[in-house]
Amino acid sequence: MSLSRENWISLALLALLLAIPYAAINFGNPFYVTLATRMAILGLAAVGLNVALGLGGLVSFGHAAFFGVGGYIAGIMASHAMSMQPLNFGLFALPASNQMLAIWIVAMLVAGVLAAAIGAISLRTSGVYFIMITLAFAQMTFYFAISWPAYGGEDGLSILVRNQFPGVNTMVPINYFLICFGVLVVALILFALIKNSRFGAALQAARQNEVRVASVGIAPFRIRLVAFIVSGMITALAGALYADLNRFVSPSMLSWHMSGELIVLIILGGVGRLAGPLAGAMLFVMFEFLLGGLTERWQFFLGLLLLGVVLFARGGLIGLVAGRQRHG
């Protein structure tokens, strides 16, 4: 089996990402482990968004909703597990857990339901309507989080002890990095499979020409809705990991700014490309770290960079390295 240039780039990026924390530990600078973990998690969130945005052409400006919901599920489950209170859903109650695997499943399920609801309404529209509506619904979750005091309201919610993973001490930074890295690898494989599958073919074709897809007998709405749900679930998983990394979750994870950043990650890397989100996330975190060390106003320069990429380098980083993308 031969690998395409793009897959080689993905492997090289993953190898580079894996090397960062080990190099950091060797050089006695463990802070970089956290930086690499951030890259992995933001990369994962962007892989999720890339299913909707890259493959489906669905410009969701509301993925922070899923990212934040994932984060809040991690925080809420942790706090309930800590105080030994079951999660009360009114009609029934579930025991809370501080096991990451359980948290991930709950986070993805809740985000999946939310994505189904938001998607069912917003996918009836397209273009700018879709952008504005996804943005508005994400803002709704943001205001809800602020106005609901049970889980910290505006102040957010701390996770006192990082949630647990079978057989691993998650408080050791490198261990936690490896967990996140593993999830990222699984998500990338999943993305590659979806992209080349029948579902992926229908989804990408619907982006290129909706009428064509309908006139061969495939209803674009259902394809897009499923893509939106899968996309939201992956991004929620990243949110749960992000909350555990920071051991803190706040409404800022739900903010429109977060949604914008997720899109930016993909654009910096390259839309619809397998490695685009990871490349973008690595570039973004590095940029934030290096420039953030030089000036408090680093976002000003991020804005200039982004403007330059949009106006003059539309293929993103992967586009510059791997050339234009071709489909079979």
């Binding site: 979806i194 029948r198 073919a201 020409n209 897809v213 061969v216 489909h327």
Partner: protein, 249 residues
């Protein structure tokens, strides 16, 4: 006489004051090519849209394979076997010709909700798609992105897609438009044989092709069918000559 495959009964559609479709009835029977002609603005496109399902008629009925399809969307009608080519070709332009046809094969096979098996290694998709391309003479161009195909090749590709759907009826909207004389001649020969697989409702401006191919011709003017009959009937119909053919000769 055999049951019509496609049967349109008293279809009406108005846009404001404009009666775009004004009580149109026509049918398509097995084995025939039924040509629909008429001057620009006669309402041919509006009629095609209502048959395909992109527009809802105000009144009347579209029956396909013996059942009314008024309530069905574009995708559902296509799944029943209504194959279609567009006036301005409509393709997934980044995809290769082959992948465009594979999309139709995958739709015909049933579910698009399969997430893991790579399509390019799925012979149940690639082989029928390649066969359809071969029939329209595009086999050598199978791996070229649709965006890079010539105008005539895109027309052929649309027909290959309709073939791959195993259509029970073809709805071809000006398939000859923009083709050179050689291309038109080849396509005419191809459509001549195709009618035995499934009947064709052919909207076409190329009168040579229409007179060579059509079993029946209906003439649409201002949203109404003013005449319908054999090639000779239509050629000799004075009203048609006045309304339409007159200015062509």
């Amino acid at each position: 006489m055999a049951e019509p495959v496609l049967d349109i009964r008293d279809l009406r559609k108005t846009f404001g004051a404009l009666k775009a479709t004004d009580g149109v009835s026509l049918d398509l029977r097995p084995g025939e090519i039924h040509a629909l002609i008429g001057p620009n603005g006669a309402g041919k496109s509006t009629l095609i849209h209502q048959i395909a399902g992109t527009l809802k008629p105000d009144a009347g009925e579209v029956r396909f394979l013996g059942q009314t399809v008024n309530q069905l969307g574009v995708a559902e009608r296509a799944r029943m076997g209504l194959g279609r080519s567009f006036q301005v070709s409509s393709l997934a332009t980044e995809f290769s010709a082959l992948r465009n046809v594979m999309l139709a094969v995958q739709s015909k096979q049933g579910s698009s909700f399969r997430f893991f098996k790579p399509v390019m290694r799925d012979k149940s998709l690639t082989e029928p798609a390649m066969a359809a391309l071969e029939r329209v003479g595009l086999k050598d161009r199978a791996h070229v992105p649709a965006a890079e195909l010539s105008h005539g090749e895109r027309r052929q590709l649309e027909i290959a897609i309709a073939l791959a759907l195993d259509s029970k009826a073809f709805l071809l909207d000006e398939p000859m438009a923009g083709m050179g004389p050689e291309g038109s001649r080849q396509l005419t020969g191809f459509l001549d044989g195709l009618r035995h697989e499934a009947p064709i409702l052919l909207v076409e401006h190329d009168m040579d092709a229409v007179f060579a191919l059509a079993d029946r011709i209906s003439v649409l003017v201002y949203g109404r069918i003013i005449a319908s009959g054999s090639v000779d009937d239509i050629r000799n119909n004075p009203e048609v000559r006045r309304a339409y053919l007159g200015d062509m000769e």
